[in-house]
C-alpha cells in the first residue's frame, strides 16, 4: 500500500501523556507515569492500523488521547486536518461524533438493563441525526450491518451473549457514522470462535462502510491478521511500524522478534520448525523506566549506546520504521 495515493485521516505527532504520581498529605507530585512517551504515527483513510503491545505499554492511553477522553500532556493530533489535542470540551463537541470507541468489555461499557434499540438509538438522538420516522429503520439497519437480527432491538442486554453484546457495542459506535473507530482489544477474553466472528465482522465493515480503525490488541497474531499496518509498542513508545506482511516476514526490532517468537502457531508442522527463545525479565515500571532505549535491559543485542540515547523511529524500508540502532 502506497501512502502517497492515500489520504491521511489522523496524524499524531510527538504525543505524550504523563500522569502525575502524588504522595503525602499535600499531594505533592513526586514523579510521573510516562504512559505514552513521544510517539508519532498516521492513520490513512479506510485503513486498519494495529497497535500491538503487552498490558501497560500505553496502547489504551494512546487510544484515549486520540479520542480525547484524555487531554494529552503535549503533542498534536490532527483529525481530518483539524488539531484536536488542545481543544476545550466545548470546542470538541462537534468533533465527538467523528470518533467512535469500542471498549474491551461489553459488560461494563453499556448499561445492562437497557434495550438494545435504545442503546443504539441514543447517539442518533444525542447528535440529532434522525427524525422520528427513520429512527426505527436506522436501528434495524445498524443491527443488520453488525449481523444481528433487527428484532433484537427489543431485547435487553442481559439476554445477550458476550459476542452479541460486542456486536451491539459496535453498532452503537457506528450509529453516528464516525470517521475513525478505535477498537480497544474488543475480542480479548472471548471464545476463539466468537473472536473470529467479530474480527470477520470488522473486516466486512472496513470494506462495506470504508471504516477507518485503530485496533489495539495484545495478541500479535490477531493484530497482524486484521490490520493493514501494525505498530508495536513497548513501554510507552512505538518500537516498530510496518505493513502486516513486512512485520511478520522481516521483523527488525528485537522486541518484535521476541513477540513473534513467543506467539505459538497452532500448526504442528510449522511450530516444530520455529525456534523459541525466552525473553528474560519483565516490562519496566513506567514511573522509573530505564535510560536510553527502554528495551535495553531485556535486549539480547544491546550495546553501550543503547543505555544512553533513545533510538529514533527511523525509516528503513518502504513503510517500515524501527526504533533500534542495531537494526
Amino acid at each position: 500500500m502506497n501512502k502517497s495515493h492515500q489520504e491521511i485521516l489522523v496524524e499524531v505527532n510527538n504525543l505524550k501523556m504523563y500522569f502525575p504520581v502524588r504522595r503525602g498529605i499535600f499531594r505533592r507530585k513526586v514523579g510521573e507515569v510516562k504512559a505514552v512517551d513521544d510517539i508519532d504515527f498516521t492513520i490513512m483513510r479506510n485503513e486498519i492500523l494495529g497497535l500491538v503491545g503487552e498490558s501497560g505499554c500505553g496502547k489504551t492511553t494512546t487510544g484515549r488521547c486520540i479520542s480525547r477522553l484524555y487531554k494529552p500532556t503535549s503533542g498534536s493530533i490532527f483529525l481530518e486536518g483539524t488539531e484536536i489535542s488542545a481543544m476545550s470540551e466545548k470546542q470538541l463537541k462537534p468533533i465527538r461524533r467523528s470518533i467512535g470507541i469500542v471498549f474491551q468489555n461489553p459488560y461494563t461499557s453499556m448499561p445492562p438493563g437497557q434495550r438494545v434499540g435504545n442503546i443504539i438509538g441514543n447517539p442518533l438522538i444525542t447528535y440529532h441525526l434522525t427524525d422520528g420516522t427513520e429512527y426505527k429503520d436506522r436501528i434495524a439497519e445498524l443491527l443488520h450491518s453488525v449481523g444481528l437480527d433487527p428484532a433484537m432491538a427489543n431485547r435487553t442486554l442481559t439476554e445477550l451473549s458476550p459476542g452479541q453484546r460486542q456486536r451491539v457495542a459496535i453498532a452503537r459506535t457506528l450509529a453516528p457514522q464516525p470517521s475513525l473507530v478505535i477498537c480497544d482489544d474488543p475480542v480479548s477474553g472471548m471464545d476463539v470462535s466468537v473472536q473470529a466472528q467479530l474480527i470477520n465482522l470488522l473486516d466486512e465493515l472496513q470494506e462495506s462502510l470504508g471504516l477507518t480503525c485503530l485496533f489495539l490488541t495484545r495478541d500479535l497474531a490477531m493484530g497482524q491478521y486484521i490490520s493493514d499496518r501494525v505498530a508495536v509498542m513497548y513501554s510507552g513508545r512505538i518500537v516498530e511500524l510496518a505493513t502486516s506482511r513486512e512485520l511478520c516476514e522481516n521483523p527488525l526490532h528485537p522486541y518484535t522478534r521476541a513477540l513473534i517468537s513467543a506467539t505459538p502457531v497452532p500448526d504442528p508442522v510449522l511450530e516444530s520448525k520455529r525456534h523459541y527463545t525466552v525473553l528474560p525479565g519483565e516490562a519496566p515500571d513506567p514511573v522509573t523506566p530505564p535510560t536510553g532505549c527502554h528495551f535495553h535491559p531485556r535486549c539480547p543485542i544491546a550495546v553501550g549506546e543503547c543505555h544512553e540515547e533513545r533510538p529514533p523511529l527511523r525509516e528503513v524500508g518502504v513503510d517500515h520504521y524501527v526504533a533500534c540502532i542495531k537494526a
Binding site: V192, A196, Q197, I199, I226, E249, V265, S272, Y276
Partner: protein, 329 residues
C-alpha cells in the same frame, strides 16, 4: 509408560432453577508419568468443571454423579470431599496452578509463609526445614534472592514473580499431577511463555505430569504431547497433538483451528473461517450430537441417532462423530 491419573466416565451435574446442567457428561482421559497433556475447548465446555471434579472441589448444589478417578491405584472419588484422605490428595498428589496472579495468593500473608504452610501440613516438616525447603523451591522457579524475599507480601511482587511463587507452591510436595487452569484474559504472551517454558523444564526434571486446560491452541501445539478437545461436557476428539492438529477428524476441532489467526497470514491472504453460532445451553440437551446445529458436515444420520461413542480413527486417535473429515474430499 506408567499411567498416573486415570479418569473414567466422570459425570458432574449442576442443578439450576431451569433444569439440570450436565457440565461434565462422561469424560474419560488419562495421563502418563512425566507427560504434558492439553484439554482444549471454549468456555462452558466443561474443562474447568472436569478439573475441579477430579479433586472434588465442586461446590454444592453441583454434584459428581458417577465416575472413577484413579491415582496411585486408588479411586479417590470414593473418598469424602472433606475427609483427611482427600485433603492429602490435594496438594500432595495433585495440585493446581491458578494463572490469575492477582487473586490466587493471600494478600495478607508473606509469600514464604504461604509455601511453608503447605510443607508443614502435608509433609509434617518442622518450621526450620520448611523454611529451608521454601528457599530451595523459590530458587528453583527463578525468584531472585529467595531467602530475603520470602518475607515479602504478594503486593511487593510483580505479576510474573507471583506466578512463579504459585508454581513453587504447587510443586512444593512433589505432586504426581499438576493442573494449570488458564483463564483466557490473563498474562501477556511473553510472561506466559516464560512460565510455560519454566513449567515444562520443572515437569521433566521432577517427573511430574502436567495438564494444561486452555483455548489457546498454539500453546498446546508447542507444549502438549497429547490433546483432548471438549465440547458441551464431552470429549469429542483425542490423540497426539501433532496428529489431531494436522489432521483434525472432528468438525469442531477443525472449526476451532480455522478460527485462530496465524502469524504471517493477513486477511488479504486468507480469511478466517470461524465456527458460526455459539456454544449450546447445557440444559435439556437433545439426544443427538450437541454440535449438530453448528456443524457444516452433518448428515441425516446425525439427526436420527444419538451422540455416538468415541471411536478410533488412528493410532491413539479417537473421535465422537459419525463423520470422519479425512474421508470427505
Amino acid at each position: 509408560m506408567v499411567t498416573v491419573l486415570d479418569v473414567q466416565d466422570l459425570r458432574t451435574y449442576l442443578p439450576t432453577k431451569k433444569g439440570i446442567v450436565k457440565a461434565v457428561d462422561g469424560v474419560s482421559f488419562h495421563i502418563d508419568e512425566g507427560e504434558i497433556i492439553g484439554i482444549a475447548g471454549e468456555s462452558g465446555c466443561g474443562k474447568t468443571e472436569t478439573m475441579l471434579s477430579i479433586v472434588q472441589l465442586i461446590q454444592p448444589p453441583g454434584k459428581i454423579m458417577s465416575g472413577r478417578v484413579i491415582i496411585d491405584d486408588e479411586d479417590i472419588l470414593q473418598l469424602k470431599a472433606n475427609s483427611p484422605g482427600m485433603r492429602s490428595v490435594r496438594g500432595r498428589k495433585m495440585s493446581f496452578i491458578f494463572t490469575d496472579p492477582k487473586t490466587s495468593l493471600n494478600p495478607t500473608l508473606a509469600i514464604g509463609r504461604q509455601i511453608t504452610e503447605v510443607l508443614e501440613t502435608h509433609l509434617d516438616m518442622d518450621k526450620q526445614a520448611a523454611r529451608e525447603r521454601t528457599v530451595e523451591l523459590l530458587d528453583m522457579v527463578g525468584v531472585p534472592d529467595a531467602g530475603a524475599r520470602m518475607d515479602d507480601r504478594p503486593f511487593q511482587f510483580s505479576n510474573g514473580m507471583r506466578q512463579r511463587v504459585m508454581i513453587a507452591m504447587a510443586l512444593a510436595c512433589n505432586p504426581m499431577v499438576v493442573i494449570t487452569d488458564e483463564p483466557t484474559n490473563v498474562a501477556d504472551i511473553t510472561t506466559k511463555s516464560q512460565l510455560l517454558e519454566l513449567m515444562k523444564g520443572l515437569v521433566s526434571g521432577l517427573n511430574t505430569s502436567l495438564i494444561i486446560t486452555t483455548q489457546n491452541l498454539g500453546m498446546l501445539t508447542r507444549y502438549a504431547r497429547r490433546v483432548y478437545v471438549m465440547y458441551a461436557g464431552r470429549i469429542v476428539e483425542s490423540g497426539p497433538t501433532t496428529v489431531v492438529f494436522n489432521n483434525p477428524c472432528h468438525p469442531y476441532t477443525l472449526g476451532l483451528l480455522r478460527s485462530v489467526p496465524r502469524l504471517g497470514v493477513n486477511k488479504s491472504i486468507k480469511k478466517l473461517n470461524p465456527l458460526l453460532g455459539f456454544t449450546p445451553d447445557l440444559i435439556d440437551m437433545p439426544p443427538h450430537c450437541a454440535f449438530l446445529p453448528r456443524c457444516t458436515y452433518k448428515t441425516e444420520r446425525c439427526e436420527r441417532e444419538p451422540w455416538p461413542d468415541m471411536r478410533p480413527v488412528g493410532e491413539d486417535h479417537q473421535i465422537r462423530c459419525y463423520v470422519d473429515l479425512r474421508e470427505i474430499p
